[in-house]
């Protein structure tokens, strides 16, 4: 399940990271591709794709820094809410 989730995130991000094979633990902010549009698009994508809402106090760059961290956020959010993804 986690692999599938990571693949979905990677597919979404790959459009913005052309010609770069993004690794699960790679810092997407350090790569310099993330502008404010993508930062918010990423929130919208995670919410829409995995069916939860990111709250104001969950706005923490750590949650979005790597595919791994995003996956951990999804895991926390969906296991708390009992959502199947």
């Amino acid at each position: 399940m986690a692999d599938n989730r990571k693949a979905r995130i990677k597919e979404f991000l790959s459009r913005f990271f052309r010609n770069h094979e993004l690794k699960d633990d790679e810092d997407i902010f350090a790569l310099g591709f993330v502008n404010s549009l993508l930062a918010l698009q990423l929130v919208n994508f995670l919410e829409g794709e995995f069916g939860f809402t990111i709250e104001d106090d969950e706005l923490d760059f750590e949650n979005f820094r790597t595919i791994q961290n995003m996956d951990a956020l999804i895991e926390r959010k969906t296991s708390a809410a009992g959502v199947a993804v």
């Binding site: 549009l37 698009q41 929130v43 829409g48 104001d56 923490d60």
Partner: protein, 377 residues
């Protein structure tokens, strides 16, 4: 693919059109001259549920779907861009507060913002910070459980009468959003006059002189003010402005079809001259193309697609230029009359330039769209 309005959307459009034809369009030129939208027309927007229309019903809003909201914005924008700009700024702020405001802030406020009972405005720009929004200098300092805001904002649409301002400030150098009530001690506003576009939009400069706020007025977390809170607001703002621009282009077309049918030169109505037909055709085609891009953006917003933001940028970019081009041609097709206040087209031209500058100017969209192209249809 099915590209068609539902019956309910068509009926809503008729209602919006009727409202604008009766209560807005005939007066818009006068409001423009007086530099003020009257308060009673704002009351009418409220009583029709046109303020806060895109906010969910559970937060006091109208729960309007994205396409119907677009139709509303187009129709209001067709009658009066200044009034449309109230919908834009109020809704974008109310929406961002609903999205990123904390529970304590929303508990007392969401319904008042959603219904338009309390009016909101967006306070981002400063004298030295426009396109480069991250360079704002307004400062926030944390003191115990409170924040103290100091700085000045410029060009604030409906700043003369808004009850709440979404303010971008630096908190320990992190861009951070706050919702500031106009009743906060230390807050003052000065009307701005002599702006030539959306002249009736009650614009103001704001001063925050040590405005002390309880911590619940922080919106989102420190450091996320521009990237998430204001970006959420600006995304809705661009959607609204794109539709408003379609409204201007359509108003230009309406005016030109009528004028060129009635005005005769060289023994025939103007519209029988082929060079005039070329201008009318460009106006017809660009207006339709702009509207289609807005439908596409609206559809993606409605289904919650992550592409919606990128597609909204495209719609805003195209529609605002279509409006300027249509308005420019509209003034031209009216000849000398186009430059008088006897016809609305000069106002359309002034207002169209505004939509090309606000919510990210054309150049800023060019930079952003090239960097974030939307995916395949």
């Amino acid at each position: 693919m099915k590209l068609e309005l539902s019956d309910a959307q068509k009926q809503a459009r008729l209602r919006f059109r009727e409202f604008v034809q009766q209560r807005v369009a005939p007066y818009a030129g006068g409001w423009d001259r007086e530099e003020r939208v009257p308060l009673d027309v704002i009351d009418q927007l409220r009583s029709h549920g046109y303020l806060g229309a895109p906010l969910p019903v559970d937060s006091g809003g109208g729960g309007m779907d994205a396409i119907t909201y677009g139709l509303l914005t187009e129709e209001i924008g067709r009658g009066c861009s200044s009034l449309r700009s109230l919908l834009t700024v109020h809704d974008m702020v109310a929406f961002a507060v609903r999205r990123w405001g904390n529970a304590e802030l929303k508990a007392g406020l969401a319904a008042r913002l959603g219904s338009g009972e309390a009016l909101c405005a967006l306070a981002l720009s400063e004298a030295d910070a426009g396109s480069d929004a991250a360079s704002v200098r307004t400062e926030a300092v944390r003191e115990g459980d409170e924040y103290v805001i100091t700085g000045r904002k410029k060009w604030i649409t409906f700043g003369q009468i808004a009850d709440f301002f979404l303010v971008l400030a630096r908190l320990e150098d992190k861009l951070t959003a706050f919702l500031v009530p106009s009743t906060t001690p230390g807050f003052s506003r000065t009307p701005m006059h002599g702006i030539v576009g959306t002249r009736a939009s009650l614009m103001a400069e704001l001063e925050f002189n040590g405005c002390r706020l309880a911590s619940r007025h922080l919106v989102g977390r420190p450091g996320f003010g521009l990237s998430h809170v204001f970006s959420t607001a600006l995304d809705l703002g661009r959607y609204s402005v794109a539709w408003g621009a379609v409204g201007i282009a359509q108003a230009c077309l309406d005016a030109c079809l009528e004028y060129t049918a009635n005005r005769r030169q060289f023994g025939v109505p103007l519209r029988d001259h082929q060079l005039i037909q070329r201008k009318l055709t460009d106006m017809i085609v660009n207006t339709r193309a702009a509207r289609l891009l807005c439908y596409r953006a609206g559809y993606l917003r409605e289904i919650g697609d992550a592409e919606a933001m990128a597609e909204t940028l495209v719609a805003k970019y195209f529609a605002s230029q279509a409006a300027v081009s249509a308005a420019n041609d509209a003034v031209h097709l009216h000849g000398g009359n186009g430059l008088t206040e006897d016809y609305p087209v000069a106002r359309y031209l002034r207002d169209s330039k505004v939509v090309e500058i606000i919510e990210g100017s054309t150049e800023i969209q060019q930079i952003t769209i090239a960097r974030n192209p939307p995916g395949e249809l």
